[in-house]
Symmetry: D3
Subunit: 229 residues, 6 copies
């Protein structure tokens, strides 16, 4: 893994297998997060900017400077079909780094969405285009193009480490990162988990208690839980 | 009133009268809050997790430990038709304590919604089920089942005191708690208030000023308000 | 410009030209903000209280005291067709200063919306009425009518200076203030900007890179950006 | 327990035993909180306004309206030697409700400190007087005297329930409330806990591991913790 | 008043009278704020970066871009003896715009302190130099010198309007802005207020109640306050 | 680099060279951050819990579960002279994970401090011991020992990636992480930077402007900065 540094663009990205990416896209974020062993989740302040936004793809990473979106243009050239741009910032910033023009450009180059630890604008257009974006703020404040960041270095975005080529899945519950080496294993585990949940759902619908379904009464009693009338 | 303590489940709940609960459910939260004399409102960081969520029911209270949703399963057994689960936490936590499986279980036992000073997940499913939830965060982060909390002790949820059996009303404007002893009186006052508002609305629509409708010009002048050209 | 002071209502307002206001209303907030030279934007914590809320009008300014909405009633009398009420507070407050009755009154007097650095309630009614409101919180907590503020003094709302008669534009991207003296110039610049964007959008759609469209490769190389395989 | 309501002053307060209060004052807040079974802690956003502030006393409770400190003057009359004023607010407010004049008045009536879910000012004077205050903000913004709250009703302050006469302990680690009925029991448990800690401290100093001191190796292995080289 | 715009330095500043500035410096911020009629206070998130920091001087205003401190160097040239630099930012930013080198430069040019709606660093050095700074964050993150802001335009800093030459007073209670035209009047009112407070302090110390000192019993009874045993 | 996972303790740590660690400890955090090329800084919400706290050492990393400090005891066994414990959490949590007993234990095993993306307590004791701690909150709320995390896996703490053996430097300006492979290079660069700063400081003291010292007048003019009288 290269170090995080400023002023460099890595042009070679080792992307996760497209079939596995597609498989992961079929699961919800909560399921993927569970299947990974509960690591890799971004902080919940990242939210979809419109209801119904969902994405799954391979990460092209960007390290931005505050108030400067130049590197997003640099990143556009590195995009391939099925990529998601994951943009971190060297500091906390809620400026509007991204709008409908860049969304048009990213889509024109094959991107399927954006995850950004910053703000975005032109949100009505993004919704109309159905270009899914997960951001920390909606903000009309524009940015400049004056300072260097990097593209395709490892970045920390909303407290999660993302390397180029990792799989990123986002829906209403949040955004999770699956390291490319673990993608196949996680997709398989997610599938098993989902199958398992359906049978439980049926039982809960019928009024069966989790206390019984999961045999919790013993352990609870052992820890000293007491019932009082 | 028993003290708040950990490791206990009270199985007897003195619930508010169902007819009064139904009556309260016919009013908006702002109206109920006014009718109570402006006390009992939860902090506004609790938000419905989908547009249109509304609930009114009798409280089954839960005291959770951070990152641990075990007590929600314990609470499920105590639910009766028309109950709302009100879950407080011993500390600030935004983990995803609750998802579609527990929602199915709660509904299977008669619950009409959840108010939680914490996070929830599977929000797309909750919306599809139309199971109303008021929470402080949406978060895919799951929880464990390892430590004891309590069920049906008085809890403080989002800065409001809730006792088992109290009435809880939630809509887009927030969540308000009506002590069960005051429920009938509050429902009556809410009804009077609403009747009163309709006539005012008519006058405002016609362009009558609040300054005149409420005879405010005198008191304002007395306090020294001056008009300048 | 008069100083900000408490206890005064200015009855004469020098409003921006209605035709220019209408022209500005045809642009998005991000476009207007760019056309102004990137000043005049309110902080992004002000959000529309329902999806699709949009407004553009001339400001009637209000300085509120915390937890007290009396001055909103005083302001109602100063409204003319096409005005937007811009309400600042002498301190941070998230109480519900405004609800459906005041919305009815404001509309009855010609107002086309509200921008408030505080909370509002009756949000379901506001959406049904389609009365656009931009606020910092949704909160059922009511307010009193006990202390004097001011109407039509210059106010600072969400960190932006607003004078009576200035143009205020709000949409999903935020709220921007255009000083009335600059309104015509800004509308013209916004028009030019929008025309310019359409042609770019076309090129981006075709896969042209911003790197080439904006001739960025030279400046980036000069600053030392390097590409690595 | 009376309900929380506005516009009432309860003049009779059943205070905790002074000897027990004094005993509790000898322990740190973390110790008292543990001794209570980990309930009763206020949210950690309440902070001492100067380094070294500490307090322990019996609660005189106040329910304030936002931006209005009138009830603090009403509360002054109810103070007895050794009381702590605990001021909640009907909503979130960070105004400066309290300053050196009220501190002088409270001290003149026997109070030993203030806990307030709001702001305070004249902090340099408070430090010079060594009048301990725990607050959510420091803020020069003054308040008015225009609306009624209550004195000596149960209040929820920073998410903790406080009844008149309960014991309140504050230090750098936070603020904890001990119900008066439990005060003696908690003081005894705190004493046992402190004795127990001293012997542990000695062992830790000598390099003994908590893993061994608390026999944690077995349970950890059972849960599956594995060591890798 | 000129408009706020980017890319301009105004070299002529109409400063408040030095004697009045000195007089204002003798009062606390809370007193000045009261004397002004309770307007002009910056939001309380601005805090002194070390205990004991205090300042009073005439404003040299700066409008910064996020993550860019170039304009602080431009502002240095405009400083005169007794000035305070007041730095606003076009957006929310907590980067470390300012450190010990700039503090040395500002002091070398006569400045007596800094108020910044952003972050600063080298705080240990600032304390050692006793160069008073009021900031929203302490942050080692450095900034670049790449984009234009402005110097000596009116700015909105922490929600308060500041024009070049206005008086800025800061202490532990916050930061207040006095328009230069009102400076003399405010200093006089502050003096009267302080004299008045000393006599009250004496009475409070002796146990006299505010209820009696301010004749509050009548108005409280009239509003319906009731005492219950 | 191993993946982040739960339930594992890595016992072999490749620590940075002690001499380089010592060298880095001689610089302030802002200087180290600059010398690294402005990457590696933790978010500024991590603050020293007492004035004057400073640390520099090699990281033993811990991944905690919310409200559970068990892994801190597990980590104690892995400590060597000169280590700093860096504790991340799988979610946002402000509980008091750490107090004076663990501080005594850590010091007894050679640790020189703690950086934790969570809360701590017994802060008066920590200050008296002068055991430096950087935390996101001070909180008396205790934690349990019930669930597995990990020790010496890569963690993301306050948005910075930390691997076991990396160098961590903390002072009043924040906390920065230096990858062990870059430690020597960064220490050298920090030294050069500091030497360079001293000469500048001298010139600033004498009133030389940064505009001249850094030859900024040309570039500013080129970007269009204009001076107006």
């Amino acid at each position: 893994m290269e170090h995080t540094e400023l002023g460099v663009v890595h042009t070679r990205v080792d992307r996760a297998d497209p079939e596995v990416v597609e498989a992961l896209g079929g699961f919800g974020v909560a399921t993927v997060h569970e299947a990974m062993g509960r690591v890799g989740l971004m902080r919940p302040y990242l939210r979809p900017v419109y209801r119904g936004a969902r994405l799954c793809g391979t990460a092209i990473t960007v390290l931005l400077q505050p108030g400067d979106n130049w590197m997003l243009h640099v990143a556009a050239e590195q995009l391939r079909e099925g990529d998601v741009v994951v943009a971190a910032c060297t500091t906390e910033s809620e400026d509007g780094f991204f709008g409908d023009l860049l969304a048009t450009s990213f889509r024109g180059r094959g991107a399927v969405g954006l995850v950004i630890d910053g703000g975005v604008r032109d949100v009505a257009d993004l919704e109309e285009m159905d270009f899914p974006v997960f951001a920390r703020a909606i903000n009309a404040k524009g940015t400049v193009k004056a300072t260097l960041g990097s593209v395709n270095v490892p970045v920390v975005c909303a407290n999660a480490l993302v390397r180029p080529g990792d799989v990123v899945v986002g829906d209403i519950d949040g955004v999770v990162v699956v390291p490319r080496e673990r993608a196949a294993e996680v997709a398989a585990a997610a599938g098993r988990r989902e199958a398992n949940e359906e049978s439980k759902r049926e039982r809960f619908r019928a009024g069966v208690l989790g206390l019984d379904l999961y045999s919790m009464r013993g352990p609870l009693a052992e820890l000293g839980l007491r019932y009082e009338d």
